[in-house]
């Protein structure tokens, strides 16, 4: 199974390595939220950009999960 490195913003020093059975962003998000017991809406950031739900990440990617807060 593919492996990805995940940080949960703002704890950028802590890296968790996770095996996932999909590389589609939308599905990876669901897996990670479940695994890491996260509530609310999250997005995957890679190289300073939020990935859209239908994009793919790669095996061994280093990604950051950020909680999406819709403020004013």
């Amino acid at each position: 199974m593919p492996t990805i490195k995940v940080r949960v913003y703002p704890d950028l020093e802590n890296v968790v390595t996770v095996e996932v059975n999909t590389l589609v962003v939308k599905e990876v998000l669901e897996v990670l939220k479940d695994l890491l017991r996260l509530q609310g809406q999250y997005a995957i950031v890679k190289n300073g950009r939020i990935l859209s739900n239908d994009e793919y990440i790669s095996d061994d990617d280093d990604i950051t999960l950020i909680q999406v807060v819709e403020g004013g």
Binding site: Y9, P10, D11, L12, Q39, G40, Q41, A43, V45, G48, R49, I50, I66, Q67, V68, V69, E70, G71, G72
Partner: protein
């Protein structure tokens, strides 16, 4: 006139500060039905009281403070309206504020206050349990907002009183001055603090224990319980509860939805230092409701303990402040931002407009249009200490601060045509942080908002980010011009309703749908309303605001965006190469709103259908 209208106390204070007279007037039931209350009711009042010739900072201007039916009947996120002729735009000035000042005003027995004239000496107004008294405030003039509130509470021997006060910025008629309520919430926009200052009115204190009648209390309690639970099940509610609006900065920055370097850059490499998540990790933090009388499960007001700043809990800067003073000025130091935010609040300055005018000054400095000799120091991007000095200079109108105190439009006109090109405003009001290149509908909302560039008069960026309104047929993210225009119109109408009802938008969009709001409105007022009626009431209020602006001299060419967003794409970042197609958006907007493209007036037919009690002519 009426004595009992559900959701209201039925009385307003009419204060003539020139004569030192305080009268009580009745709430007009017909207006409370047509224009709901809050900003809608206040705008209707203002329509009859001001004209094109009214100078905003003269005794002729009128400031109306007004609550809506939801304030203190529905203690979830209440908002109170400050409405006047804006000294920044010359058109409708409006600022909504949370906290408990409005609730306490109602408990004191009044739905609102009409402030006319100007006192010869500084005064404050004490509204306590059905009585109102104008008191001397000579000893308060010059004091900051926190000191003022503290002294007034001591004088009244009432620590539970709520105070709305101006700081030195309002006293000095700084056109970007705010009114601060509850010591921490800002009625920031459109210069309402300067209008209060022009009347020599330092503060208003309110306290009371009266209860307003509602139509169906049992039903209302049930609906409140449901509304309170809703944020805890909604992604938006969970996000705001976690970090407040400051938590929005990181995802917005990764998405290209923040201003950087006066809107000329697409990437700011120090953004991680100043996000709400980082600030609340680095410093001890807590979340509270925006007022002591507010029952809100979101608790978006976040506070920090920053030892380098003070020993007290300090307000965590909101997203708009982190963006306009942080990324826009390229300040990547959290402690600096907490200090600047604190200073703005104490001096009574709107942080959005302050960030906008200082960004312009920094660009002018970079271009050699302002020199270090003019300032007494260098003004480089990212220099938090220089910004602190400049904030004080603006509030006290010292040196170049006297020019910046006029707001970015007038300041740039003073420097010359070259400087006007990068003055970022709509109708004179500095832009908030959501990006018109990223979300084109917010560009349209800024261009056509009745108060100038405001993100709260049509929060369309929420829809473009997936917070939809299926109850109004918006079930997918708008992609084309037509759907973006339709979404903008619906959102503008809904925001006009919420500002009039006295409901916080953070507790509604993405939290509960408007079928629920209609039920709540009926339980409070007894007025049978569907979601369509809510939308129509908001539409009526939007046109009322438009007609007021036309009466005050609004020209169609002012419905526009700064050219920077239309002609200058960014060269980097998530929105590289993108501009806002404002002319296409405006053309369709005018058609759907039935506005005459030659003069901006709505059709008589539209006004008649909406039932406004004023005519187009």
């Amino acid at each position: 006139m009426c004595s009992v209208v559900f959701g209201f106390s039925g009385k307003l204070l009419d204060v003539d500060l020139s004569k030192g007279e305080v009268k009580t007037i009745g709430l007009r039931e017909d207006w409370s039905r047509l224009y709901v209350g809050g900003s809608g009711y206040a705008t209707r009042l203002l329509y009859d009281l001001i004209s094109k010739e009214t100078e905003p900072l003269s005794p002729d201007n009128v400031l109306v403070i007004m609550t809506g039916p939801f304030v203190d009947t529905f203690p979830i996120s209440p908002k109170t309206a400050f409405v006047t002729k804006s000294p920044l735009t010359g058109y409708l000035g409006k600022s909504m504020v949370g906290g408990s000042f409005g609730a306490m005003l109602k408990r004191a027995g009044f739905d609102g206050i009409v402030l006319r004239g100007a006192s010869r000496k500084p005064v404050y107004l004490a509204v306590i349990d059905g009585q109102a008294e104008i008191r001397d405030a000579s000893h308060l003039w010059g004091k900051d907002v926190l000191e003022t509130s503290k002294i007034i509470k001591e004088e009244l021997n009432n620590q539970k009183a709520k105070v709305a006060a101006i700081g030195p910025a309002g006293e000095n008629l700084v056109r970007i001055a705010a009114v601060i309520t509850d010591e921490r919430r800002a009625a920031g926009r459109t210069g309402v603090g300067a209008v209060m200052g022009s009347k020599k009115l330092k503060a208003i204190a309110a306290y009371g224990s009266r209860k307003v009648n509602v139509y169906d209390r049992e039903r209302l309690v049930h609906l409140m319980r449901e509304h309170l639970a809703a944020p805890l099940k909604s992604p938006r509610g969970i996000g705001l509860r976690s970090y407040g609006t400051s938590g929005g900065l990181i995802s917005y920055a990764m998405d290209g939805n923040v201003p950087i370097k006066n809107w000329t850059k697409g990437v700011f490499d120090k953004v991680d230092n100043i996000t709400g998540q980082t600030l609340q990790k680095v410093y001890k933090s807590r979340g509270v409701a925006c007022g002591t009388e507010v029952v809100c499960s979101i608790q978006c007001h976040k506070e920090l303990q920053v030892s380098g700043v003070s020993e007290e809990w300090e307000k965590c800067p909101e997203f708009e402040t982190l963006a306009l003073i942080g990324t826009n000025l390229m300040i990547g130091n959290g402690e600096s931002l907490v200090k600047i935010n604190r200073l703005c609040d104490r001096l009574g300055l709107d942080t959005i407009s302050t960030g906008g005018v200082i960004a312009w000054a920094m660009e002018a400095y970079e271009k050699g249009l302002i020199r270090a000799e003019d300032l007494g120091f260098e003004l480089k991007w990212g220099d938090g200490e220089a910004v602190l000095r400049l904030v004080e200079m603006i509030a006290y109108r010292r040196g170049l601060g006297d020019v910046l105190a006029e707001g970015v439009k007038r300041a740039s006109q003073r420097i010359g045509p070259e400087a006007e090109k990068f003055a970022i405003h709509v109708k004179g009001l500095e832009l908030p942080a959501h990006h018109p290149r990223r979300y084109h509908s917010i560009g349209l909302a800024y261009a056509t908002s009745n108060i100038g560039a405001s993100h709260l008069q049509g929060m369309t960026m929420l829809v473009e980010r997936g917070i939809l309104l299926p109850e109004y047929g918006i079930s997918e993210i708008p992609k084309d011009i037509e759907s973006k225009v339709r979404v903008t119109i619906i959102h503008q109408n809904l925001c006009a309703f919420l500002d009039s009802a006295g409901l916080c938008k953070f507790g509604v969009f993405g939290i509960v749908d408007f079928n629920k709001i209609a039920e709540e409105y009926k339980a409070i007022t007894g007025i049978e309303a569907s979601k369509e009626d809510i939308l129509m009431a908001g539409e009526r209020i939007w046109y009322l605001e438009r007609l007021l602006n036309l009466k005050l001299g609004l020209r169609v060419e002012e419905d526009t965006l700064p050219k920077r967003f239309v002609e200058e794409p960014l060269e980097e970042g998530p929105i590289k190469g993108v501009t806002c197609p404002i002319n296409q958006l405006l053309e369709l907007f005018y058609r759907y709103r039935e506005l005459d493209p030659r003069n901006g007036y709505p059709s008589e037919e539209r006004i008649r259908k909406l039932g406004l009690d004023i005519s187009v002519s």
